[in-house]
Structure formats: C-alpha cells, structure tokens
C-alpha cells in the first residue's frame, strides 16, 4: 500500500501541507487576540510593502480570488484600516492604501507574526534557512513551469488558489 500509493509521511507534498497548516494555525492563534484573521493580515502586510496596489493584485498576493478580496476589502474599509478612492485615477484600477489606523493595527499583527516565524525557524541556522528558501522557490517554480495554468487567469477559467495539498 505504501509502495503503490503516495506514502504520506515521506511525501514532500504532504509535509508541505502539514507545515503550511501548522503555520496557519499558529498565526491564527496569535492574530485572534488582535481581532484579525490571517487573510486580513496578509492584505495589510501587502499594502504596507506596496501601497496603491489594486484589489486584484492584492488577491494574487494573498492567494485568494479577486472576488474574495473584494468582500474582504469592504470589511477593511468599514473597519477604517484601508482607503480606496471613489473614482479611478486611471483606468478601472482603484489604488488601495493603508490608513494610519491600518498601519497601527498592522504593526501589532506584524510583530506577532514575526515571532511565529522566528519560532518556526528556531531549529535552523542561517544556512539552513537560506536553503529552505531556495528549495521552496524551486518547488513553486517547478509547479508553475509546465502544464500549470497561469495563476493570473484564475477567473472565468477554473484554477482557484485555495491552499492545501
């Protein structure tokens, strides 16, 4: 059974999902007291690094559909964490920005998440961390290389970004 099927304990795919799941769980645990979900945090962090990003761009960066990001942004806007111009400066793109309140909330969340990442990497030295980055990038690159649908065309075509494995 282990030879014919995918041997889960040694499958890199399974380990990837396991690690990703553990990370999300840990992040949820530290973000919950701050009244923030992982997706909220991801969105704010992306905006901090690249102010003026569009809703669709945010969706790609957070690995959700642009429809999901759309409703999330409505929440964050009501929340007062982000602002969006009523009319598009050019084209249809509505550049989104953090408000001071959003930056404030992000600061606390970002610190908590950094602590989680530090704990995650606690058993590794610098060289191993670098190697982990390199290997993960290789996996992503290989998965997207051939016969892998373009992640940008997630819409009206059928290749969502859920996360799992």
């Amino acid at each position: 059974m282990s030879q014919d099927g995918v041997d889960l304990p040694t499958s890199v795919g399974y380990l990837l999902k396991e690690a990703s799941s553990a990370l999300r769980t840990a992040m949820e645990a530290v973000l919950r007291p701050l009244g923030m979900t992982v997706t909220h945090y991801s969105c704010l962090e992306l905006l901090a690094q690249r102010p003026g990003l569009s809703s669709s761009a945010l969706a790609r960066g957070a690995f959700v559909t642009r429809q999901s990001m759309h409703v999330l942004l409505q929440t964050l806007e009501q929340d007062g964490s982000v602002t969006r111009p009523a009319t598009a400066p050019t084209g249809k793109v509505l550049p989104i920005r953090l408000t001071p309140l959003g930056e404030e909330r992000l600061a606390a969340a970002s610190a908590a998440v950094r602590a989680v990442e530090r704990r995650m990497l606690g058993e590794l030295d610098e060289a191993e961390v670098a190697e982990a980055r390199r290997l993960l990038r290789s996996l992503v690159h290989a998965l997207r290389s051939e016969s892998a649908p373009d992640p940008d065309q997630r819409d009206d075509e059928g290749t969502p970004a859920n996360v799992a494995g």
Copy 2:
C-alpha cells in the same frame, strides 16, 4: 518598510504558503477531470494506507475539523467510495474503509497526484529532496513545540486548521 515589516519575498512563511498554494492549485487541476477535490483525495489516500481509521483521525490527517470530515464522509458514502458500519464495534469509533469502487477511484487520482509531485520535485536531486523533507519536518516540529496549541484539541477550544500563512 522591508526592515520593519515582514519582507514577503524572502519570508519563509510566505514562501511556504506560496508553495502550498501552488501545489493545491496543481492538484485541483489534475483531480478536477476525475471529479474529485483535494480533500476527497486526501481522505481516500489516508484510508488506503490505514484502513479502519475513524472520522476524527481522518480529519486530523487531512488538516480539517472533524465536523468538516463528517460532511465529507457523508458525500463519499453516498458516492459509494467508502463504507462505515452502522454500529460501533467498540466505543463510539466507526471504522471507515474503502470500497472497491473507492480503491479504483483512488488509483487514478493517486497516479495523477504522484505526477504532480514528481513535477514539483523536478528541479531537485535526491539529496535536495531529502533535505527538503528534513527542513519541512523541522518547521512543523518547531511550530508545534511551545505555545503552540495541541492540534488534536482543535475543537471547543479554538485552533482550526485551515492552511494559509
């Protein structure tokens, strides 16, 4: 901004999520033609390797809540892929098993998923794959070590397993 916040492109956490997301997308792409979702597949694969698993054990293995697994199993049972005894042989645990039809479906799905995993690892040699396993296990271990809630007590306590990061 990059020093203060979490620098996404170099964050191992972000790369982990990126890789996991890419893997799930790729798996969905190959499983869709087989009429199967990633969670369905995970469940069947677990059952193939450990027949007689309980619903809760399956949930842990697939990184979802036991409630989600419960509804999933109802689908798979109607589907004719798995069977569950009406009464518990001992205690409350209802051991679940694959039907011949389930095994058949799993065979096709498992082959497709193995191909995806092969593609994912295509750029790496054997030593690098082993290193990837080791590093991923280290991340999981470190995340669960301290101040990380027991994943078994996901219920009535507040630490779900969603996947993201």
